[in-house]
Symmetry: C2
Subunit: 241 residues, 2 copies
DNA sequence: CCAAAAGTGTTGCTACTACACCCATGC
DNA sequence: GCATGGGTGTAGTAGCAACACTTTTGG
């Protein structure tokens, strides 16, 4: 009865089905700390708490497409890095009804969605913190005020932060948080913000350059008060996604 | 309209909802190769193809509980390693109706479910192969005959194999494929089967012992024709899951 | 004693870190 | 020229891979 064969005898209308949603963790790095886009709820439950942008999955829409739709709703962010994160399916995670949520996470440089945020006062880019063994992340405004999180979205944010940290040094994921041309210092600041620790400058430079995934452009940083740094590009190269 | 706020205005009965299932990749290592439990379908579609064990998610059942239920249906395997793998949600992945599947993957020593397999002729433990850039894994019997895979289960198996390989050397996942006490040679054979490459014996020994996650038991392997090897136990230790 | 496998010593390589230093630019 | 940050040289260290070697057991 429990097996896949069971699916064939199953009448799809016979039993109650859970609802299926996608939630989007749209992350960035701002002021040396990881951050994510949150929306302030104006209705119960969790009224005045902050939650991830999300949507129900259409009957003729793939999960990836639903996540892109949520992302696209924010602005013209079609080229953003996007990957599936985890599926949250505890029974009482939503007090209204049974909703399973497939969480996606997306990365963009902070300036790419500044306009979208400014256009909607219910949206904010919240700083995130996550302790070593913590179940859930916490969110704060730029001046340190705590932002209460609704549903299990603190746990979703924790999963996203851990994934980001875990993939940081083998996956080129950091480049999704930078403009097309960037200095090595900017790249190092992104790494430091995500890991939460300072890194040794020369060691970091060498490690990155020896990897072979960077190309010098010959151009220089503009507007520097002192010696301008060289701008690099990211080379996707061998078998990367 | 696309946002989380939308969820509140949403009438759960107004639109068609996808069905939600879990599929289980129950993996093991047998005869030096990775393997997974498959079931032969006796109905259309994909009649006589092989698919992963699965079940629909109950309305009052968490995803993890549904996966445990599928696992438990096989035998008394309640203590098996189990983790969520990925959620597959392409629109036409099932030709009958829209079904989203949350895939789980589980690990057990092969001898632990020999009895369960023998009790059901539609179940088999299939050898798996997966090329470097392949979209899908392929399944074979012990004597090399190909087993056709139904639905997108080849892609699910590919994801499971890659996850297994990726987590192998930092996560103690290999110990879930061994009995409680095991020799270093047995551990090495598990690693070699998963990676598909031979490993240097002394290097492997040292690497494992230096990690500090093994404890010598003082006991010796029984029934060896030559010098019996020492039996080790796995120490879960610092912050492992 | 011999075959076979367990287990160890030694070497060298590679990746990475740390520290010190030199270089280039704007004021 | 001098402050500031960009960029480089030179070790030293940890982890790991390869090879040769010794040890232990059953027959």
């Amino acid at each position: 009865m429990d097996e896949r064969a069971f699916l064939d005898d199953y009448d799809p209308t016979a039993f109650k089905r859970p609802s299926l949603a996608v939630d989007l963790v749209l992350m960035s790095v701002i002021a040396g700390a990881p951050a994510a886009v949150l929306r302030r709820r104006d209705v119960h439950p969790f009224r005045d708490s902050w939650t991830l942008p999300g949507a129900f999955v259409g009957i003729d829409e793939s999960l990836d497409a639903a996540a892109r739709r949520v992302l696209g709703g924010k602005a013209h962010l079609d080229d953003a890095y996007l990957e599936q994160l985890y599926t949250f399916g505890v029974v009482d995670r939503d007090p209204r009804t049974r909703i399973i949520s497939v969480a996606y996470f997306s990365l963009l440089p902070a300036d790419r969605f500044a306009a979208a945020l400014a256009g909607d006062p219910a949206l904010t880019l919240a700083r995130l913190t996550l302790g070593e063994g913590d179940e859930a992340a916490t969110a704060h405004t730029g001046n340190g005020a705590a932002l209460p999180l609704g549903f299990d979205h603190g746990a979703i944010l924790a999963t996203a932060l851990r994934r980001l940290r875990g993939k940081l040094d083998y996956s080129g994921i950091a480049f999704a948080l930078l403009p097309e041309r960037f200095t090595l210092r900017a790249l190092q600041e992104v790494h430091e913000a995500i890991l939460g620790t300072p890194l040794n400058k020369p060691a970091f430079r060498r490690r990155m350059l020896d990897r072979g995934c960077l190309a010098a452009t010959g151009e220089r940083e503009a507007g520097a008060s002192f010696r301008p740094a060289e701008l690099y590009r990211h080379l996707p190269e061998q078998g990367e996604v």
